[in-house]
Amino acid sequence: MNEILNEISSLLQAGKAGKCKKAVQEAVDQGILAQTILDDALLAGMDVIGAKFKANEIFVPEVLVSARCMNKGLEILEPLLLEDGNDGAGTVILGTVKGDLHDIGKNLVGIMMKGKGLTVIDIGVDQPAEKFVEAAKENNAQVIACSALLTTTMDYMQDVVAAVKDSDLSNIPIMIGGAPVNQEFCEKIGATNYTVDGAEAAEVAYKYCQA
């Protein structure tokens, strides 16, 4: 494989955001396709990080710093990917539910989804159920994804599920995630899917969009 792509992947794994961004620019300047840089360097690096995270070899801090590298790289690649005619594999509405202001986990999920080529409409934190529905309609989205960090705010996800059921979007999949959320809770509130981390969430969202 190309040397520069390997270097980007290692820089991403080491969490060196500045150097990683520079290397991505260098790869672009060398004439490597944006899609190739994304797949074989950034995502390849995140795959390693994701696998190590699952195996408990690394923990949240390293995932976050690597994701920041990915995001820096994406800043350069995104406009190029659009130019190359990759206008997205689908659209996801992503937000943190009402009452909750935490965005780090949500942003991580967003980065991983963008990496999969999905268009991510991030509606922000502290968002009421109607906002998720409206945004999904406006953007013709295929997936709604809700985040919550607190045991006191996760219950609001149920309101999002109810609002979606009441709307004419009744078939859109609702994905949920966040530290206190689990499969049991997902089933209890009638959401479509729960994933443990950003990488898995991106996989699942991608599948829903392709379905």
Partner: protein, 508 residues
């Protein structure tokens, strides 16, 4: 009817129960301290109890959360085990016995009789008994907050209160304060208390007064009261005063810390105060305007949630350093090291960095294995620092770091503009400033002007106890203060991630 035999360091006691019940319910009914960070959700594996006798079979789920050796030693998790016959419980009760230092600022002694001051911390409760005319300390007590059984942090306790009623949390803290005051009075041979001041974070004061907390946990974080009034309940027969809180997450403990540091008088200065506890509260005094914020650091620096973490009590490694390639450490009480307390953990991380045991991402070199996992064994001890511990510390320290950087950014200030950096809290009192800067607990530029003030919350409460005029200063503090919400701010998130590592990433 089943017989329950309870053994502790002082002997044994026997009671009977009439029906089958879960072990944690039984222990709560018996007022036996039990650490339940996940409040009985079967996820944390912390509610370990040594128990023999007729109990339900261990499930795979429970087995997963225990080590083989623990299972062999009759340890069960209280949230799983059902008592269905006679049992015998063995308690290991080592209570905290080192009270954080208090300082008294400028004040006059306007009161007569005896008074009690209390700081209800999320993790620990500190109490002192004074002769009011002279300011002489007559007794003190420091204990783990009895509400720990309802969850380790304020959010899980609010969740518990919302689902089961605030009454449980209120009763628990009332009973604890009464026990502690009895203990202090007994030691001092005092039979009457004339007044008390009870300070603490906003949520702790809500529980103390029995107020609804549900809305504090969700944006926009509404409180029922910000206090600054007498309490509805007496403490050992005395009227209590509850100092004013600044906001939902910057409580009366911080108003008191500001008072103790005297920041309300420093209208021409630029100063920063950090109160390091389970929540890290920060105050930036920008020439008379005070910007206050709170960040969730978690209890790692109080020695909780770490594999060999413990409070700063007998047997805790409290200091560590490298000399000529050799690791040296200090143990409280000079006995056999049993664990490591907050200041020791901070030193340990700094030492691990210096020795290359961990790299700049916090990863422990794979060559270090202890207790069946990647961990560093502190030389000539049986105390380990595991990979998970390092991660807990990374999350805690970057929360403080990011909070400080964000407050400075918002005010358009640089580290060098800060004239004094006050550090409050029991952990802050013992921590090594240089090592704290080494691991990135705060920006390195602040170390030069660091001033340790000990338990600021309790110090301020004592000033209010002695001198009625101090209430005016609290009013002044409240007028000058604004609560800044950090979560949801992009710059905070960026600094938070940057602060996780052990070296500053190159600027981009």
């Amino acid at each position: 009817m089943y017989i329950v035999n309870i053994n502790d360091n002082n002997g044994s006691e026997t009671i009977s129960i009439s029906k089958t019940m879960r072990l944690d319910k039984l222990m709560k009914e018996l007022d036996l301290m039990l650490d339940m960070p996940c409040s009985g959700n079967h996820t944390c594996g912390k509610c370990k109890v040594t128990v023999k006798g007729h109990l339900s079979e261990m499930t795979d789920e429970e087995r997963m959360l225990l080590k083989d050796e623990e299972i062999k030693n009759n340890i069960r998790l209280a949230c799983f085990a059902e008592v269905n016959g006679d049992i015998e419980i063995f308690l290991d009760q080592t209570e905290a016995n080192v009270l954080s230092m208090v300082k008294q600022g400028d004040l006059e002694f306007t009161e007569e009789g005896y008074g009690i001051s209390v700081d209800i911390g999320t993790t620990t409760v500190a109490m002192q008994l004074y002769e009011l005319r002279t300011g002489k300390l007559l007794g003190e007590d420091l204990r783990n907050n009895a509400q720990c059984i309802f969850g380790a942090d304020v959010i899980s306790r609010i969740k518990y209160a919302t689902e089961n009623g605030t009454k449980y949390l209120q009763d628990s803290i009332h009973k604890q304060l009464l026990d502690m005051s009895k203990e202090c009075m007994h030691k001092a041979e005092i039979y009457e208390i004339n007044k008390s001041v009870v300070t603490g974070n906003t949520v702790m004061l809500h529980f103390y007064e029995g107020l609804e907390t549900r809305s504090i946990a969700v944006a926009p974080f509404k409180t029922e009261s910000l206090f600054g009034r007498n309490g509805d309940f007496e403490l050992s027969g005395s009227q209590t005063y509850l100092p004013s809180c600044i906001g939902s997450y910057v409580g009366a403990d911080i108003s008191c810390s500001i008072l103790a540091a005297g920041m309300q008088r420093h209208n021409d200065r630029i100063e920063l105060l950090a109160d390091l506890g389970t929540n890290g509260e920060l105050v930036l005094n920008y020439r008379g305007e005070m910007y206050c914020a709170s960040t969730a650091a978690g209890p790692a620096f109080e020695g909780a949630n770490l594999s060999h973490g413990m409070r700063a009590e007998l047997g805790a490694i409290s200091e560590m350093m490298v000399d000529d390639g050799k690791v040296l450490f200090k143990v409280i009480g000079n006995g056999k090291p049993k664990g490591v307390c907050g200041s020791g953990v901070l030193d340990a991380v700094s030492v691990m960095l210096e020795l290359g045991v961990i790299n700049e991402t916090g990863r422990i070199d794979e060559g270090y294995i202890g207790d069946g996992e990647v961990a560093w064994k502190i030389p000539s001890t049986e105390v380990y620092i595991t990979q998970k511990d390092i991660r807990q510390i990374q999350l805690a320290k970057s929360a403080i770091f990011a909070g400080i950087k964000t407050l400075l950014d918002q005010a358009g200030l640089k580290e060098k503009d800060i004239e004094t950096f006050y550090v409050a809290g029991g952990f802050g009192y013992h921590m090594n400033g240089e090592n704290a800067a080494n691991i990135g607990l705060f920006p390195r530029g602040l170390e030069r002007c660091m001033e340790v003030i000990g338990n600021g919350a309790l110090s301020g409460a004592i000033m209010l106890l002695f001198d009625n005029k101090q209430k005016e200063y609290i009013k002044e503090i409240i007028n000058k203060s604004t609560e800044v919400d950090l979560s949801g701010k992009q710059v905070f998130s960026d600094y938070y991630i940057e602060g996780m590592l052990f070296e500053e990433d190159e600027k981009y």
